[in-house]
Amino acid sequence: MGLACAASAQLLGAAVVIVGDMIPERLQQARSFGCETIDLRQGAALPDQVEQIVGEPVVDAAVDCVGFEARGHGPGAGEAPATVLNDVMSVARAGARVGIPGLYVTGDPGGIDENAKIGQLGIRIGLGWAKSHAFTTGQCPVMRYNRQLMMAILHDKVQIAKAVNATVIRLEDAPQGYKDFDRGAAKKFVLDPHGMLAA
């Protein structure tokens, strides 16, 4: 979803789109269509890395495309469900809006602690408040956008399949697709149950 969001930001006219990730394959994929990237496995502070790209330690707009299974960054970091939200607040300029299409839940049996198990996370709301950030949460209401995005596709104004690296596989191969995707393959698997897409 991060790659789709980056392609969308370009479609909206962004001057600079920075993708942060811990998976080199996905960073490479982001660079393939003109994004800047930050490798979050490096220990350097995020605002410093942003400054190296745009000349200041903040951006105009920030989006959390990860959600509740986020991991902390830096070497050996474990799961830290609020880390992306706190990071985006740290680099979004004062007055910015923050998009949160990444999924958060009310029940997570594998949560790191009792709070996380009910979706209560250590979000630094004081920082967001101090910077007058506005947040948009929730499922995307698809109908608000799908017709216009269809027209952009049909008239070659966006190459979304290329951006997310659409990869067609058979329905029978779904279990392998799930495994590869879970391991961080920079691919968007498209199942083809009736063999209608096979190249």
Binding site: L3, S8, A96, V105, P141, L154, D182
Partner: protein, 191 residues
Amino acid sequence: MAGNRCVVYKGPGKVAVEEIGYPKLDLPEQNRKCEHGVILKVVSTNICGSDQHMVRGRTTAPVGQTLGHEITGEVIEVGRDVEFIKKGDLCSVPFNIACGRCRMCKEGKTGICLSVNPARPGAAYGYVDMGGWRGGQAEYVMIPYADFNLLKFPDRDQAMEKIRDLTMLSDIFPTGFHGAYTAGVGPGSTV
């Protein structure tokens, strides 16, 4: 009667492709026919990052949960009350199931439709806590409120040429776009 194979959650880290039965235009919990629905022959259906939360065992999804909410398909059967969608139409299915009649739908907030999930606002195909609708990582799937939900592609041949792009309209592309749009991204923004 044709069968219907679907991707099914089998416990943490495990999915399988299993026969789940050809879909019917029925709403069993409401004990009535789903006359506003259609049956789709699934042309393409994507694996979503959010499916991974279920498959990793990070939700309360039960074993046997059918999967798949990023669906594009061809209409092959049409309910009595469907007025505008026709057999043969090639359509993208928004992953949010919405009735088009409730207060939220009337405000365009189709991700929190009040009519399609007894447990909470909002529903989706093949997802835990999202209303119990069957998954679309399958050969066939039933789509309720078809006139409201489906986005018909204008030309079938043109659509099949760009199907790898158009298949992203069911979730990932609008969802990514929503993230950027609601973050206020515009000309010249740094993001």
